[in-house]
Structure formats: C-alpha cells, structure tokens
C-alpha cells in the first residue's frame, strides 16, 4: 500500500489551503484515495499554516506524520526552517526561491507555480492538475495560474532532478 505524503506550508492568506485543495482534487480526479487535513481558526490571522495531503490506493490517517513527508511545498521563505522537520530524509523540498520572482506574472499564484513544480515529480498528469486549478479558481484567474503552473513545472524539470 503506497501513499504519497505532501505537506504545504506558509502563512495565513498565502493560498496554502487552496494549493492543498487543488492537489487533493487532482488525486481525486485520478481515481485515487485521498485525504487532506489542516487546522483552521486562529491560523487565519496571518500565522503559520500547514496542510497535509495524502494519496494512494488506500489512505488511513489524514495527517502526515512528522518527518515522513515525501514532498514539502513552502510558500513563505520564513517558514522553510519551521517546516523542514516535517520532511523525511531524502524528501523533496520545494521552496519559494525555486520560482524566479520576475517570471511570475501574479505573485499570488506562487502556490500554483509550486504545484507545477511538484507535478514534475508525481505520477499525476498535468492535465488533471490544470483541470483541478480551473475548477478551484474563478475564470478570470485561469490564464495567469495556468502560466504559473507551467512555469513551476518547467523550472523543476530544468533542475535536472530525476525521480
């Protein structure tokens, strides 16, 4: 039973939960079992937020055990060190500096750009990701986020990391 563990981290208001929603929807569209979990409430007020997404043939606990994340997406530079202990040894960290600021048309689509980078490593088709992006966002934001997704995907591919 193989489960992929992803944690998205950042600050309240950065789109952490939107990113994890899109990832979970993508796994759902791919016909996988999926669970996601995060803490609401106080974290809405600009504090640290993390959201866990787990998918595979069968998922039990909705929470990624500490130190067992296969992938860690971090939307705020200040949160990288805070969130790093969540990653397993050999896990892949996708931090905000991965995405060149100048290439990102809208800074608010950093979350989708990092999903693009993540998609490079996963067996989930980019078409499903983009379908989930379109379903999650209003139409006027589709184009800019599709570009952000492709940018992230390209950057990750250019890093030459082989799965």
């Amino acid at each position: 039973m193989s489960v992929t563990n992803v944690v998205v981290a950042g600050l309240g208001g950065q789109g952490v939960i939107k990113a994890s929603d899109i990832l979970a929807d993508t796994a759902l569209l791919a016909g996988l079992d999926v669970k996601k979990s995060e803490i609401h409430g106080m974290s809405q007020r600009g504090g640290s937020v993390t959201s866990d997404v787990r998918f595979g043939t069968a998922v039990l606990s909705p929470m990624v055990p500490r130190g067992e994340a296969d992938y860690l997406l971090v939307l705020a530079e200040s949160e990288v060190e805070v969130a790093r202990p969540l990653l397993r040894a050999g896990g892949i960290l996708l931090s905000p500096d991965l995405i060149p600021d100048a290439d990102l048309t809208n800074k608010r689509s950093l979350n989708v750009a990092l999903l693009g980078a993540l998609s490079h490593y996963l067996d989930l088709s980019p078409e499903l990701f983009l379908q989930a992006v379109r379903e999650a966002l209003p139409e006027k934001l589709h184009a800019v986020n599709e570009r952000a997704f492709e940018l992230g995907r390209k950057v990750a591919a250019g890093q030459g990391t082989i799965r």
Partner: protein
C-alpha cells in the same frame, strides 16, 4: 459511483439534507461552523442562534413537533447548552434530534480540550463518533434513525481532524434515512414533556430503560465492528474516531474493534474481542473514557500513558503509545503565531488600554489576540461572556485605585451570545467604583470566519432580519453612560473618553464600532442587497395602497 472530496463538516451537511432535516441551528464555533453554512448552501434551512443553549432549545422544539432537527456547536458550546440537554434526555423527542459536538483536542482554536464523551455518560445519551467523512455521512444517517427509533436526542461527536479533514464520500443513492421525514405536527404529551418532579421521576427511569435497550442493540449494531488482520492475533486494539485511523496505520497487523457507538459501549462485544487476543489495547485521544469504562466492567486493557492525554494523537504518537515509549517528545516548531490583522479596528483600543495600564478582563474572539505583543493588553480570558462578570468581581474586591483601572472588553457576537446577563448583573450589583465595558463591535463573528449574529441584522444566509441594537439594549438595562465611537478613526477622542469613564464612578458601556477589515467589503455588499430588498418591498406595498388598484 458519485465520489466527492468532502470535509467531515460538509459530509454531515449533505447527510442532513438527505435525511430531511427540517431545521439546522447552532452557534458558530471552530471546528463545527461549516456544517450549517454548507447545509444552507445545499438548500437546507439553517440559522444561527444567539448561543448554543437557545439553539438546542429551538431544535428541541422542532423535534417535539415531530420534525427532524440538527443542532451544531463546538465542545465548549455544549457547556452552554448543557442545561436543556440533560433534561431533553428525560423528555425525549417526537421526531429526531441530533446534537453535534465538535471537540478540539490539542486546542487549535479553543480555550480548553475538554472531552465531550463525558457528556454522553453524564446526560445519559447515546453518542456516535465517526472516523472520517464517509462515516460522518453514514453515521449521521444512523443517528437520525436511532433518534427516531428510541425517541431520544443523539449526541454526534466529531473532533477537529474529522471536521476539517477532507476524504472521499459516496452519498447514498436516493438519499439517507430509510423512512421519509415525518410531517411536523403537535401531539400533547404533558407527562412526557413537562418536567415537574412528578413527571421527571418516571422520565428518568424511562431514559435508563431506553439506554439499556440501545446498549443491547449496540452489541450487534453495524456502528461497532471487529476487523481481523492477517497478523498473529497477539494484539487487539479498541479505538474510535480519528484515533482508529491513526491506530490502523500504526499497527497494520493488529486486530481491531472499531467503536462507532461510544455510549453506551458494547461491553460484551469488547469482552469477547479481548478474550480472542493476547493483549487488548485501547487507543483513544483525550481522556481515558473507554479504557476506564472497560476496566470498570472487569476487562483487562492496556491504555496510553498519561502524557498522551494532552494534545492530538497522530500516527507517530500512536506508535509510541503502543511501544510504551514515555521518553520526551520532540516539540514541533511553533512557527509564526497569529496576530491582529494590520488594519484591524481594534489596534487603537488595545494601544489605549496598554497606555493607561488597564486591568483587562477579556473575552473569546480574534480580539483575544490583544493578549500578544505588542499590546499584551488582556489579563483574563476564560469563557464566552465571562469578561463582564470577571471584571465586576475584580472591581468589587480590589482597592479603589486598582479597581478604577479594570475594564471588560467583549466582542459584538460574544456580547449577544452571553454578555447580556453580565450587563444586567452590572446594573443590578454595581461596583462602588463603577465599571467600564467596551463592546468591540466589528459587525461580524470574525474569529470563526465572519458569521452573522443578531447584532448584524442579517441571517445566516446574509439576508436581512431584525437588528439588535447593542447600545439600545445597554440603555434599556439601565446603564447610565452609553457611547458609540469609531476608536480607529478617532483615537484621541477614544483616549479622552476612556480616561473620563475610568475616572467616573458611573457604569459605562462604550461601543467601539467599525467593521472587521476582512468582512467590510462583504458587509457593504449585503447591506446594499438589503437596501434593494427593502426598496422593492416598499414599491410592492405602494402598489397595494388604496387608490392604486386601477393601475
């Protein structure tokens, strides 16, 4: 098959729709808030009550009228609703009444981590606990069926990770409960519903008889199930709720008795299960409720060390529990704490309280964040509405020079929830030095995600309704000095006013009014819609005026 990715809260809302819940009511509280919001969005009839006690009473009335009713609240909300709850256990219901209590182990957004399974035992009510969104859906349907079958309110316990985690749900084809929702109607049942002692004594016996029957049913009901693994049968785990998910992942080779009906517990089923394995372990979050009950029934079980009573469980902690590991745990990095929004209208209030070295009796809401740096301008925060009573108590006994620095601060929604009685107490038993209550009125229940309340004049769905006037109420209660001010726009004026009111021996209410920065745009939109609605209504009533019939 229709597969949807839903949170536990959303799954309950969907099940409520499919079971024909006629009325859903409650008070917002993390992690329960989204149940009624989703129920409304799906087309159900959902409304916010001023507090959980009123919500439960409204739902109880609906269930007395043979309707199916739902009431939702967070764990501490059930403390507020406990008074009607305990006696509703005696009266029972005609239709169905499901009471959702959403507990918050680990206190992600709460002031305590009380374990509300204790309420089921104390009130003598059946309690059902789901482990994920599919079970939240399925078990809610079961809760409605149980409530109708035994004419008893059913407690539905969820926890933060069940409420807010999303997992896949397949809704039942053709909807939920096996029987269609009954048509509301009234039948007199004076002996059953008027709880004077002569009626309550037999009612208590009836309740215990129902519970005994439910307990017997629970021994074989599908809510509790045994799962044999391919392992060697040496360890058997008894678990419920989210703990079950963690435990299956942590110990895939164990056998399980998965408990969905946590009160009354299926004692004989557990006894048989325990006899079939070499070692029985109870894995539960929070208090040792199941472990204690099983031990009291003479079943030898192992359970977690005391250190795991605190906080949430997860897979890693369950592994440690099963291994008997009591070595210190690695603390998670704290990260950045939440804070008042940069443009929050309350900044000036806290800055002024800090400047005058006030003793601040605080309350529950995002304004509780005023306790954090840079202001550190809160000295107590205990329960919804407690700021006023606590402030009065401080004023009564402190020496005058200290008493004069005491201020109570309370948000608008919190004030309506349970601050009104405190204000009545203030008028009734005024401290020698007077008192100052500041109502922080940002026009919304901000902390839980901007829900409406009676003071906003809008219903749960943001449509217009009667509006409670906080200043009008304060005046009616008999508070001699009532002032409304925008402290954010007029910080100096607010400073002067506060100093003046602190110096006076008169009772004062200051309403610091300015919309929450997160809700301001929405509030403008809803107010616009309400104005349009009123204009149209006025036009239509003009059409009907005498002399207009020839148009």
């Amino acid at each position: 098959m229709d597969r949807q990715l839903l949170s536990g809260d959303e799954a309950v809302a969907l099940a409520a729709l499919h079971t024909g819940i006629a009325l859903g009511t409650g008070y917002p509280g993390t992690p329960s808030t989204e149940i009624l919001e989703t129920f409304d969005a799906l087309g159900g009839r959902a409304q916010w009550a001023p507090n959980e006690k009123v919500a439960l009473e409204v739902a109880l009335g609906a269930a007395f009228a043979n309707a199916r009713a739902l009431v939702t609240m967070k764990h501490v909300g059930l403390n507020v609703a406990a008074d009607p709850l305990f006696t509703a256990a005696y009266t029972g219901v005609g239709g169905a009444l499901v009471v959702v209590t959403a507990d918050d182990p680990g206190m992600s957004s709460s002031q305590n981590e009380q374990d509300n399974r204790r309420y089921a035992i104390a009130a003598g009510l059946p309690m059902i606990e789901p482990s994920d969104s599919q079970e939240a859906y399925d078990f809610f349907v079961a809760a409605v069926e149980m409530s109708e079958r035994w004419h008893i309110p059913v407690l539905f316990r969820m926890t933060t990770r069940v409420c807010h985690s999303k997992s896949i749900v397949a809704a039942r084809a053709g909807g939920g409960a096996s029987a269609p929702a009954p048509r509301p109607h009234f039948e007199h049942d004076i002996n059953g519903r008027v709880m004077i002692p002569a009626n309550a004594r037999p009612a208590h016996r009836r309740l215990r008889a129902k519970l005994a029957e439910i307990g017997e049913w629970g021994e074989t009901c599908p809510l509790n199930r045994v799962e044999r693994s391919g392992g060697d049968g040496s360890i058997g785990i008894v678990a419920s709720g989210i703990s079950y998910m963690h435990a299956v992942e942590a110990a895939p080779d164990a056998s399980f008795l998965k408990i969905g009906l946590v009160n009354p517990l299926p004692i004989e089923k557990v006894r048989t299960f325990a006899a079939s394995v070499r070692r029985t372990f109870v894995v539960e979050e929070g208090d040792p409720v199941i472990a204690d009950s099983l031990r009291a029934a003479g079943i030898a079980v192992d359970s977690k060390p005391e250190m795991y009573r605190f906080g949430e469980l997860d897979v890693a902690r369950v592994r440690r529990i099963l291994a008997g590991d009591t070595s210190p745990e690695v603390a998670s990095a704290r990260g950045k704490p939440p804070e008042l929004c940069p443009a929050c209208p309350y900044h000036t209030v806290y800055a002024t309280l800090q400047k005058h070295d006030c003793i601040v009796a605080g309350d529950i809401g995002c304004y509780s964040l005023g306790v954090l740096p840079p202001y550190k301008a809160m000295d107590t925060c205990v329960a919804m509405g407690a700021s006023i009573g606590v402030g009065l108590g401080l004023r009564h006994v402190l020496p005058d020079e200290e008493a004069r620095r005491v201020v109570s601060i309370i948000g608008d929604s919190t004030f309506v929830h349970s601050g009104i009685s405190g204000l009545v107490e203030m008028a009734y038993n005024p401290p020698r030095t007077g008192h100052v209550v500041i109502v922080l009125d940002n026009g919304t229940t901000a902390m839980t995600g901007q829900q409406e309340h009676p003071g906003t004049g809008r219903r749960l769905d943001h449509g217009p309704t009667n509006q409670l006037s906080i200043e009008g109420l304060a005046t009616a209660i008999g508070i001699p000095s009532v002032t409304v001010i925008d402290a954010y726009a007029e910080p100096e004026e607010f400073d002067r006013l506060l100093q003046q009111r602190l110096a006076a021996t008169e009772l004062s209410v200051i309403v610091a009014r300015r919309p929450c920065i997160l809700a301001a745009a929405d509030i403008r939109k809803w107010e616009g819609q309400a104005a349009e609605f009123r204009a149209r209504a006025a036009e239509q009533s003009a059409v009907c005026e005498p002399g207009e019939e020839n148009r």
